[in-house]
Subunit: 310 residues, 2 copies
């Protein structure tokens, strides 16, 4: 027995039998290869065109003393809200504000800790925004459907790299870990983007259709997930010293190249991604004794990487 190597998932890198590709390719009579491909194999074999560079105008940096959280915005899914957030960011609205709330297995939330009568003015930004909890399918970006069903939506998949749900009429971004949404009061239009949250726990999909999601954390999740949990109701911090200050929030497009974080994201509308999904639906490396034959939307990895050296 080699206890040194005893680890959950050691050698359990994601595997892909070529047969698995049949999810999109026509059935083939050829036998599967002896050794299934791993996720690492699939990514190593990816073409440059399998990757995309997010638009710097839609990359939002949440800079904390401990490091940078890189958030990609999805303006085609929540145009008004994201427009308002960009107005706030460009006015340096968030600089010096704070993380207000960290609730175990739920969300990290940031905004203005001041009482109502002392809050920072919004400047040119609006204080209410019509809810953008979902949008019509008509005119929406392409949807890459997962093969599996989901109890929270008629169909699930990906829109421009973001986990999403879809029914006959609408499409919406899903509350998977890393989803960034807009805190609001009871009024659906009360979420103007002055308070944002990121999901840090098992996906609270019950929030789908109830909050506007504006994007997703691409990098830096552990800067949020490791924050001390708030001890007040709903995980709010109880004293100012418990809060983590926000150094600044910026759009990549507003920073010089030297201050940007180089990043690429695997496209979700590629054969490479389809192969990756199948490799995760049915893990066939030797560690697994029983592949699941299913994958939950929020378990699908969306790889990011630093751009390869030219």
């Amino acid at each position: 027995m080699t206890r040194r190597d005893r680890r959950l998932g050691a050698g359990a890198l994601v595997a892909l039998a070529l047969a698995g590709l049949a999810v999109t390719a026509p059935a083939r009579a050829a036998p599967p290869p002896a050794k299934p491909l791993t996720m690492a194999d699939i990514l190593a074999a990816s073409a440059p065109s399998d990757w995309r560079t997010p638009d710097p105008a839609n990359l939002m940096y949440l800079d904390l003393a401990a490091g940078r959280v890189v958030i990609e915005l999805a303006p085609e899914m929540a145009p008004k809200t994201i427009g308002n957030i960009k107005t706030l960011v460009r006015a340096n609205y968030f600089d010096g504000l704070a993380i207000l709330r960290v609730q175990e297995n739920y969300v990290v939330q940031w905004g203005d800790p001041a009482p109502d009568d002392a809050k920072r003015p919004l400047g040119a930004a609006a204080s209410t925004i019509p809810a953008e909890f979902q949008r019509p399918r008509a005119g929406a970006p392409a949807f890459t459907r997962l093969p599996d069903k989901d109890g929270y939506a008629r169909e699930v998949g990906f829109v421009q790299g973001f986990p999403a749900g879809r029914d006959r009429k609408d499409v919406w971004l899903a509350h998977c870990p890393g989803a960034v949404g807009v805190g609001r009061d009871t009024a659906p239009d009360s979420g103007a983007g002055t308070e944002l949250y990121a999901v840090i726990g098992h996906a609270p999909r019950n929030l789908d259709h109830n909050v506007t999601i504006v994007g997703r954390v691409l990098q830096g999740m552990s800067l949020l997930t490791t924050l001390p949990r708030g001890t007040g109701p709903l995980g709010f911090y109880e004293t100012p010293d418990q809060r983590t200050p926000i150094v600044r929030v910026r759009l990549a497009a507003d920073l010089p190249q030297s201050e940007r974080t180089p990043i690429e994201v695997l496209r979700t509308d590629t054969a490479t991604f389809t192969a990756l999904v199948e490799a995760r639906r049915n893990r066939r490396d030797e560690w697994y004794v029983r592949p699941a034959g299913y994958i939950d939307l929020c378990n699908v990895p969306i790889p990011v990487r630093a751009p390869p050296k030219p």
Copy 2:
């Protein structure tokens, strides 16, 4: 606009329309009440018999310098493995060992960091245990079924307070956040309980049927979720100083009353729990504009509390 109160879910305590109780009660012609009950209401109205005190012989304390993680073991689901773990614990096997691995959105794992040729001897404990990835339904404890379907199992629900899946033949514990499982090598019988892990991310249900789950964290999750992530492959720490030492692991039954953590768990085989599930499937308080009508197994809360003062 009251930005001070703008918070995701402020006032969004779980609500229950009496109509919702129809999931277990016969349909009623009476109109639903004006104000739906919250989860807090449901718990406040609970009877002492809705709660159970875990058997001290099945409560395992993982004591870290920062505090205590309380784990409940499920011996009817993995008797041989749990027997071996108890043998290890009673020999103080884990005392002075360490948390070896923290992988973002996945697991925290603990055990012996020494190389193979220097590992702590197992004493009276076995070094291999036949896999207990699932058990036959015949003779299994009662199963409280959730009303909703799940892609990972034919049916999902709860066994003695543990989230579980079931098919025609077997029943098994599910990899929800907080699930405690047994790290193993490739051989299915290589998980003897010397390395254990707790799930800290979105449920990796693909591990169901592939690992023996022995229990669930009842209290202290944030002591694990906030640990620094390991920077090595699979989230393993790369240097000894990065590891968090384990002060001791004990069974509650082996400690004097004064050193135990008083705790009660809501029974999952009660009408109160059924009402709670329905309140979470359909959240009807004024904050929600669209109840989900569905709940994922791993989103069902299983409340714990300190025993009420007599």
